[in-house]
Symmetry: C2
Subunit: 341 residues, 2 copies
């Protein structure tokens, strides 16, 4: 293939990001972390650092306009960015919104999208401070940038995991992927399951409070939010920390709703748990010596919001330990915008 | 018309922005300015404030992909955001880039866009710290967010102009609009004119240095960059400061190239100067008592980079004073994304 014919899909989204990451820094003053984590980190200023993240939501790529209420779409656009702030252990402060609006879209629909954004901003005391508005020739496009802050010694990166650390998840996983299948009508279920799982996909909750509790405790070594899927996001931790991981198959937390859906539709729910994106749970690594204290952090909360699911290893790669003790090397099957799958 | 049938074009872009501006602030801590100026302003932190701006560039709305080199498109996406930082008197620090890429676009083209962005970032020592990448179903979309900083007592807002202040422009205007007409082949000219004017449109220069000199001098009362056009951006100053303005027709600075183009094509170049957008010059208001000192700031620069073009008035509205002394009330004819024109 000629060089001028190459497309992003030929090198993959992460390959592309790596290809543009070099020579991005032209000043090192007050710069702590650039591309390559959930947020960029700058500072310190008065003992705190700023966390900055930006996420793009495109119609037909990230959402199907007819399948989500405009208000929920607004909520989601804000929530997925706040989740990146949560993943670094920060508080969210300010939000900026760029929106390209199809000319055919009614003012009422647009105001409902804004109402959703404002609902989430009000809940987490985040200011909407600016943005840009444009007409779009066809599709709706929403870009959100969020600025957060954290005490400088409490920020959690992808790069801090060490062999022996325990891996925790902050909630059940795979619900969002199942919700998307239901939205696309590729699976079917009774109404109560459908509404729970579709809600998991359309209305993710940014775990700012749990993220702060964990960061503040200084017991964790690394943290990330699950946007691409457990395998893919754990891979980011492993790459960032130059380690591997073992997951214990039986310990992956599944909701009763996902289990019920898998029985009705006869599929393996663990596949959704492992590869399904957009759960926006936190994945946390905890050094062995801190495990007891970490468990105590949540001792008064029933059910406990954190699940022990595996271990960081010196050996690279991610393996799954089955109930029968067999080990399986996992391969990437997560979502990618530019993949050939 | 029923409420549910209303579109943005029925209330206009600025009407729409006003309609979503209320209830955007949920915390006033360290918040200086939200929506309504070139940048949001937060702080102070260690005596400085942060300036944040975001701008969206959409194919077929803001640029025609076949009519601009990918590298120049990248330069422009960065430059128009840096211009907003310049307009507040700040230094640019960090840039975040979200890009939605059509699947058909070659990797080479995308890398050229990034090269353009990096060229501008290198020139002004701005770090590229993050962003988001997605495939797009059809059109290219680029959203840039820039964070800058300024000493807290040197920031210039749209709201500081007072009756009697002199109005200055930092350069000739109307070139970019003429360049756009040449790009669209609605006007024709010899090659030397064409390349100058198309360059003015495709490769705007963010006036960060002049902006800092002016802000640092503390002689100005207000500042804005010309993105929508002289009339439209002066209106923003007038609305923000609750004043009016008079422009002196003969004093509007036109380039020799624009004058020559207007003679060849037989049009009024002042119309381009007044209504044409994207010149990215600075418009500055200077209290009478500071005019002499302000002129001295640039006394060693030939030609002087600032032009005196009018005066702020107590009487609202913008008037043009013709050479024969006649006054004409001006009306908005600037570019709008959602207008019915």
């Amino acid at each position: 293939m000629k060089k001028e014919d190459l497309k992003i899909e030929d090198i993959g989204e992460f390959g592309f990001i790596r290809s543009i990451m070099n020579k991005c820094h032209f000043s090192s003053e007050k710069l702590i972390k650039g591309i390559g984590d959930d947020c960029a980190v700058i500072g310190p200023y008065e003992g705190k650092v700023f966390l900055i993240t930006t996420d793009l939501l495109l119609e037909s790529v990230h959402f199907i306009l007819e399948k989500i209420l405009p208000e929920h779409l607004g909520e989601k656009a804000a929530a997925v960015n706040l989740s990146d702030i949560a993943a670094m252990g920060g508080n969210a402060l300010h939000l900026f919104l760029s929106i390209a609006i199809p000319r055919s879209m009614s003012l009422e629909t647009i105001h409902l999208i804004y109402r959703g954004i404002k609902t989430v901003c009000r809940r987490y005391k985040v200011n909407i401070l600016g943005g840009d508005t444009s007409s779009s020739s066809e599709k709706l496009m929403i870009n959100v940038t969020v600025i957060g802050e954290a005490p400088e010694n409490e920020v959690l990166y992808r790069s801090g995991a060490k062999p022996g650390d325990a891996i925790y998840l902050s909630g059940t996983i795979g619900n969002s992927a199942a919700g998307l299948k239901l939205i696309k009508e590729e699976l079917f279920a009774p109404d109560n399951l459908t509404s729970f799982l579709i809600n998991a996909h359309n209305r993710p909750v940014p775990l700012l409070k749990i993220g702060r509790i964990i960061a503040c405790s200084r017991l964790a070594s690394a943290m990330i939010d699950l946007s691409d899927g457990l395998f893919s996001d754990l891979s980011h931790i492993c790459e960032g920390s130059r380690v591997g991981a073992r997951l214990i198959h039986n310990s992956l937390p599944l909701s009763e709703e996902l289990k019920a859906l898998s029985e009705i539709n006869n599929f393996d729910p663990y596949q959704f748990a492992l590869s399904g994106g957009e759960d926006y749970r936190l994945l946390i690594t905890i050094p062995q010596k801190n495990i007891e204290s970490f468990q105590k952090l949540f001792k008064n909360q029933k059910p406990c919001p954190v699940y022990h699911v595996g271990k960081i290893t010196k050996e690279l790669g991610i393996k799954m330990i089955r109930a029968d003790g067999k080990e399986e090397q996992l391969k990437d099957t997560g979502f990618t915008h530019f993949g050939r799958r």
